[in-house]
């Protein structure tokens, strides 16, 4: 009998996975559980959190208050737009990358990955230097004789910076699926009379779709819960859910409300991602058998 099945029978496998399990419970399940409990607590501006009394008022507020409604809506359209832009930029970029010769491919792959080594905060400040009222872009516009444009603290700034940060998360899964492609399948399609655009649309794209879909899930999830970029480039007025949660915890000191928003964000995010997965990825999984 093999060692593996012996371990399964003896239940020793559970002991071996205990460290990972402890880490998982300690760092994910426990905080999430506490957040969930906190979200039902009553908050009083005089005494703070009343940990012994429970209410649904926080959730009612999130569902009914048009202020939160607007913020959730904004978060999701910005995330959807960022995802779309990442697909439009990342897929061709990954394709070009996969067609490059040996030395260049590795060089450009590293170039695409290096930004991940720089803190998001640093990159956000970089963008604010570029986009600010006195930033490089406005200086150029003024030099050319134009009037300065408000770029910073607009959705434009948030979207462009998010796309910049999220792009590697799209390129990597797409690049991985492109690696699995048989390049002669494209030649076969050409020899059968397909034009170059038809080859892309009918042969290459359907095969990299699983990569595009998992890339969009990652990008959408990260964008919808992003904090640093909307915090630094969205300013005081342009709020996204994560920045509102921060405000609730640290400015309003209304922890239960912050917890409620966090849980709501998690639920809506899960809902969007799971239905997306069901709707489209399932179909491609069936045909590609992965």
């Amino acid at each position: 009998m093999s060692l593996l099945s012996e371990m399964r029978q003896g239940g020793r496998g559970y002991w071996l996975s205990a460290p990972a399990l402890a880490l998982y419970i300690g760092l994910l399940v426990l905080p999430l559980g506490l957040t969930l409990v906190l979200s039902f607590n009553v908050f009083d501006y005089q005494v703070g959190v009343k940990s012994d009394s429970y209410t649904l008022a926080n959730y009612m507020a999130v569902v009914t208050d048009s202020y939160f409604y607007e913020i959730f809506l904004r978060t999701f359209w910005i995330s959807a737009l960022v995802t779309l832009l990442c697909v439009l930029i990342g897929v061709p970029e990954a394709y070009i990358l996969s067609r490059m010769g040996t030395p260049w491919r590795s060089i450009f792959l590293i170039l695409i990955l290096t930004p991940l080594l720089i803190s998001v905060v640093v990159r956000a400040f970089g963008w604010s230097l570029l986009l600010g009222a006195d930033g490089l872009i406005n200086q150029v516009i003024q030099f050319m004789g134009g009037r300065p444009v408000k770029l910073l603290y607009t959705p434009f700034a948030v979207v462009i910076a998010l796309v910049h940060v999220m792009l590697p998360f799209m390129i990597i899964p797409v690049w991985t699926s492109l690696q699995k492609l048989d390049p002669t399948a494209e030649q076969a399609a050409l020899s059968l009379g397909a034009s170059q655009t038809k080859v892309m649309r009918l042969i290459v794209l359907p095969q990299v779709m699983p990569g595009v879909l998992s890339g969009s899930l990652i990008v959408f999830g990260l964008a919808a819960s992003s904090f640093a970029i909307p915090g630094l480039l969205g300013g005081r007025r342009l709020k996204m859910v994560a920045t509102v949660i921060y405000d609730q915890y640290l400015s309003e000191l209304n922890w239960p409300m912050g917890a409620t928003l966090a849980v709501a964000l998690l639920l809506v995010n899960l809902l969007v991602m799971l239905s997306w997965n069901r709707m489209i990825e399932g179909r491609y999984k069936k045909t590609l058998g992965e």
Partner: protein, 342 residues
């Protein structure tokens, strides 16, 4: 004028000559193989015909039309790739229908054509399967059906059998020939397997270092190899030194290093006879059992000679035994020196 004609076709990669001034004429309905070791330029030649590799010099003429610089999609040739190159996200039927859809063939005509060609390759039952659900041999048939359904003027096969295991390969060899006969399509196959080329081609083109060194029917190629390289590459051969006697018949010289000619003698053409009765004596060094044959390596005064004898059910000769060899002198072939070094 031949149906498919290559005129001085050349391909250079920088300073490297991949294919040098190749001339070849393929008749309509003919099955021609390009045979050679890897790197001899056979695949490059095929890819130039298919249009995947740019031609450096020369012309490709198909049925009177110059297609040298035509796009692959406008050549309309059927290509079967070594990796099969099936579209994994499409069913067998959709794979096969792809070329017809690109030609905007109406559905009423498309479905019967797909069905007919799938039956031709004996895959009628598998139309709705995906390529990953098929075996290697079945994928090969799908690739063949996909190339044939567009009714191309020429079928190009790039090492079509090299990914199959030995038994299946032999079966598919005959299957390809059967389908080719049935459709009557002009076929050009690239292969490095001499047995494959000999068994199914009408003519074999031997390539070496970017050049064609011999074009012949399989039997003639085997019996009359032109150079040392071909003699060694196509089948097994004993390469012996010799010269012509006074009446112009080639003779093997029994003194090593003597003789101005290289002679080729196929191992199965040599008879083993009792010591003292043959032209050459030796001692068996090793013997190998090949199933239908015995292969002997025999040490002689002019070097080691390989002899293949039919396994006729009798006990084979023992290792170390002294034997004599005999052969009909007309089966000695005089070889040219190799003009190119591979």
């Amino acid at each position: 004028m031949a149906f498919l004609q290559l005129e001085g076709l050349s391909k250079r990669y920088g300073s490297i000559d991949a294919v040098v001034a190749t001339n070849l004429a393929v008749d309509k309905g003919e099955f021609v193989s390009l045979l050679g070791p890897s790197g001899c330029g056979k695949t490059t030649t095929l890819q130039m015909i298919a249009g995947f590799v740019e031609v450096s010099d020369g012309r490709i003429v198909l049925d009177g039309r110059d297609i040298t610089h035509a796009k692959p999609s406008s050549r309309g040739l059927g290509v079967v790739f070594q990796s099969y190159a099936l579209f994994p996200h499409m069913t067998v039927a959709d794979n096969v229908a792809f070329g017809l859809r690109m030609r905007k063939v109406p559905a009423a005509e498309l479905h019967p054509r797909v069905k007919r060609v799938l039956e031709l390759v004996r895959l009628g039952q598998h139309a709705e399967r995906y390529p990953r659900e098929l075996s290697g041999g079945q994928r090969q048939r799908v690739a063949l059906a996909r190339a044939l359904v567009i009714e191309p003027p020429v079928l190009l096969l790039d090492e079509p059998l090299s990914n199959l295991d030995a038994n299946l390969r032999e079966e598919m060899q005959f299957e390809i020939r059967r389908i080719q006969n049935e459709v009557g399509i002009t076929t050009l196959m690239v292969t490095h397997d001499q047995a494959e080329a000999l068994s199914i081609s009408d003519r074999v083109v031997v390539m070496q270092a970017g050049r064609i060194t011999q074009i012949d029917e399989p039997y003639k190629l085997y019996e009359h190899p032109r150079t040392r390289f071909i003699s060694g590459f196509v089948g097994k051969a004993n390469m012996l030194q010799g010269d012509l006697d006074s009446s112009g018949i080639p003779q093997i010289r029994q003194v090593p290093g003597d003789g101005s000619l290289t002679l080729s003698l196929r191992p199965e053409k040599i008879d083993l006879v009792a010591p003292g009765c043959g032209r050459l004596s030796g001692r068996i060094v090793t013997r190998y059992f090949l199933g239908s044959q015995w292969l002997y390596r025999i040490q002689t005064s002019i070097g080691e000679v390989t002899v293949v004898r039919r396994n006729d059910g009798q006990a084979p000769l023992e290792q170390g035994a002294a034997v004599d060899m005999d052969w009909p002198t007309e089966l000695l072939r005089v070889l040219d020196a190799d003009e190119v070094r591979a």
